[in-house]
């Protein structure tokens, strides 16, 4: 007998944890709501700060999944807590007796149309960060909204740091994404004038500040410290964008051919459904609570239920992967303690370093 571990969510956190646990010898079942694995990573083109290929990164994650039982198009239908484990019925009819559950349900992108004054879904040339990645992936003719723009704007903090749209906190990754995408647009359209509208540039990670400097120096991106207040459409279909340049202390307007909204990270709706079935505590922001933000960041308030990645708040990809590995260790510790007599077959095959 081996311990069963159910992983909910087939994004980077779920994939990395699954391969790690599988390697330790556990019996891992991973379920993914959509029809393909990879989460948001699967629809992204390149990753900040160095521009590595998202596809390549996902390929790396998927390459280690041998032995993991993966069910796509599958959700949790019900969960019942038994004495030491959880009886989980899946939407595909399969029942799993899970000794540990890892919730790696990730995030949803903020629905940019909720920020009504930015006109997403109303004005012809307003897109989101995700739309832009899809366009990078699919090629120049794949989106009519992006039509050889000469003037491009990026709006930071869309659905982040905004109590009006129900999210007070920072989404962490949008600043770096915006700067990365601003440079990429300059690569695609060297003659374009590119603006970034920000409140604070949170370029906290290694190489991020270099990315910012490069955007200024090498790509002539203009950074304007002011939140976009309103977008409207001119008679020729171009956009009129208004903000304050808070450095100058004056209202500002600019005509643009394309506006990219940096939609932030919101708690995943599917994750919330799972949380409800488990009665797992959430914080005010809608993300799951952890037992201890420093020492037990992967443990939920429930025994045997663990968390990794953006299910507990906005994370970068390296942080998500690191959390997944941390969860592997936490789960291994937990199962060794609770089921001391179960012999999970630990791998004897050494890695070739």
């Amino acid at each position: 007998m081996k311990n069963n571990i159910l992983i909910i969510g087939g994004g980077p956190a779920g994939l990395e944890a699954a391969s790690g646990l599988q390697r330790l010898g556990y019996n891992v079942i991973l379920i993914e709501r959509s029809s393909m694995l990879g989460g948001h990573l699967a629809s992204w083109d390149r990753l900040f700060p160095d521009g590595v290929s998202a596809r390549g990164t996902l390929k790396g994650l998927l390459a280690q999944m041998d032995g993991v039982k993966c069910f796509t198009d599958t959700e949790v239908r019900s969960i019942n807590r038994l004495e030491k484990s959880y009886n989980v019925i899946l939407s595909n009819g399969i029942t799993v007796l899970a000794d540990a559950v890892l919730v790696a349900s990730g995030f949803d992108l903020f629905k940019a149309e909720k920020k009504e004054e930015y006109g997403y879904g109303i004005y012809d040339h307003v897109v989101t960060n995700a739309d832009l990645e899809a366009w990078f992936n699919a090629g120049p003719d794949s989106d009519t909204r992006i039509d050889k723009p000469k003037r491009i704007g990026f709006v930071h903090c869309v659905g982040s740091r905004d109590e009006k749209s129900g999210c007070r906190s920072c989404s962490k990754v949008c600043c770096a994404t915006a700067v990365k995408q601003a440079c990429e647009m300059k690569q695609a359209f060297p003659d374009a004038q590119v603006y970034c509208f920000y409140m604070d540039l949170r370029m906290f990670g290694r190489h991020y500040e270099d990315l910012y400097l490069s955007a200024q120096k090498d790509y002539s991106v203009r950074f304007i410290r002011g939140r976009v207040a309103e977008v409207s459409e001119n008679v020729d279909g171009s956009l009129l964008v208004k903000a304050e340049d808070t450095v100058a202390g004056k209202p500002l307007k600019v005509t643009l051919d394309l506006l990219v909204l940096m939609a932030g990270m919101r708690p995943s709706a599917a994750g919330k459904r799972v949380g409800k079935l488990l009665e797992m505590p959430m914080e005010e922001d809608g993300f799951f609570a952890v037992r201890d933000g420093i020492l037990a960041g992967q443990r939920s308030g429930l025994p045997g239920v663990f968390l990794a990645g953006a299910a507990t708040g906005p994370k970068t990809l390296p942080e998500t992967v690191a959390e997944a590995r941390a969860a592997v260790v936490e789960i291994d510790r937990y199962l060794s303690d609770i089921f001391p007599n179960v012999k999970n077959y630990k791998t004897l095959v050494r890695e070739r370093w």
């Binding site: 149309e113 009504e116 879904g121 109303i122 004005y123 309103e230 409207s232 459409e233 008679v235």
Partner: protein, 354 residues
């Protein structure tokens, strides 16, 4: 522009507008400058549609203009408002409809503040009893008069004598809509369609055959600004804000402007006159201005009311180009006559504005 995107937002901001039985409260500015608009509102709702809209001579100003000119304390405005609400209850009504947007915003603000600070409500309740011996009450439903015309827009369309269609070309007339700032900017959920893409006037224009123009400065204030107009030394602010709007809407060549706030039609009308007379610039065709109408005036025209009964002669921007497009017959000779054809002279003509 993607129309379906707006429809999604509109569906999120529908408000409860009871069909009948309202306590009606007038607007200081509308009464002074557009008395026929309020008359048209009552005629349409009472006579055409058979609704019960009650008015008492005992109601007064809500104090909104004085409050927003910072000349009376908040508590004074709130107590005057409480008096209006108490009159409503006294006459047996629970639905409150006001003609003024400043009032509407102030009522919303007041009720919200009472909800949040019950001690203030208690104070006002006490003031009301002490000064007027009236029982404190709150409306069950508060709407603006344009909400009601919006609600009845299809009934009005069913009785239409004219449409917002150019009879010469068969094309829909192009309308700019201007919403009073205090209608929904403070409380988006209180306005039909919300704050960013209000639907209250758009719904009327669409129901009556016209087409709406969405231009970049659509959401911008007309520039009234209370003290910024009332004091002569400040009027440059007011004028410049209207000017900004007209410069922005000019490329769309609108046939008319429809408004739901009492002040805005006055300013959008008169500042066109000032811009014309002081700079020579006009925004309509061939030296005309763009006619600015209240929603009651537009509804009245659609229902076939005489333009001079609706008071269109008291606009400085002549409505004739619009009347011609709509195919409305009117007698230019009767435009400035008093009651029963009495000769009361006519305004001097302008230098630039036709």
């Amino acid at each position: 522009m993607i129309y379906e995107g707006k429809q999604k937002i509109w569906s999120d901001y529908q408000k409860d507008i009871p069909d009948d039985h309202y306590f009606y409260v007038r607007s200081c500015i509308r009464q002074s400058f557009f008395p026929a608009s309020e008359a048209a509102f009552l005629k349409i709702t009472r006579q055409e549609l058979g609704k019960d809209i009650f008015e008492t001579e005992h109601h007064t100003t809500c104090g909104g203009i004085a409050y927003h000119s910072d000349t009376i304390p908040q508590e004074t405005a709130m107590t005057i408002i409480a008096r209006q609400f108490a009159l409503m209850a006294k006459y047996g009504y629970e639905n409150y409809v006001c003609s003024c947007i400043t009032s509407f915003g102030l009522y919303c603000e007041t009720m919200e503040t009472w909800r949040e600070f019950p001690e203030l409500e208690a104070k006002v309740r006490e003031n009301l009893w002490k000064t007027c011996k009236l029982e404190f009450a709150k409306p069950k439903v508060l709407v603006h008069a344009s909400d009601l015309i919006y609600k009845y827009r299809n009934l009005i369309a069913a009785q239409a004598k004219h449409k917002l269609v150019n009879v010469h070309t068969g094309r829909p007339l192009r309308a700019v809509e201007h919403i009073g700032c205090h209608y929904s900017k403070m409380f988006p959920s209180k306005g039909v369609g919300g704050a960013e893409y209000p639907y209250v006037l758009v719904g009327m224009i669409e129901a009556w055959g016209g087409e709406i123009i969405d231009y970049p400065e659509r959401r911008h204030c007309c520039g009234f600004g209370f003290r910024q107009y009332l004091v002569k030394g400040n009027r440059g602010y007011s004028l410049s804000n209207t000017h900004k709007k007209f410069e922005s809407m000019e490329p769309y060549q609108p046939d008319l402007i429809i408004t739901n706030c009492p002040g805005c039609p006055y300013f959008l009308d008169r500042w066109q006159y000032v811009i014309a007379e002081s700079t020579g610039k006009t925004y309509g065709e061939n030296g005309h201005g763009i006619p600015v109408l209240t929603y009651e005036e537009v509804a009245g025209l659609v229902l076939g009311y005489d333009p001079w009964d609706l008071g269109l002669q008291t606009h400085q921007v002549g409505p004739e180009p619009l009347l011609d497009k709509m195919g409305i017959e009117y007698d230019p000779a009767r435009k400035f006559l008093g009651k029963d054809g009495k000769d009361i002279g006519r305004p001097e003509s302008c230098m630039y504005l036709k």
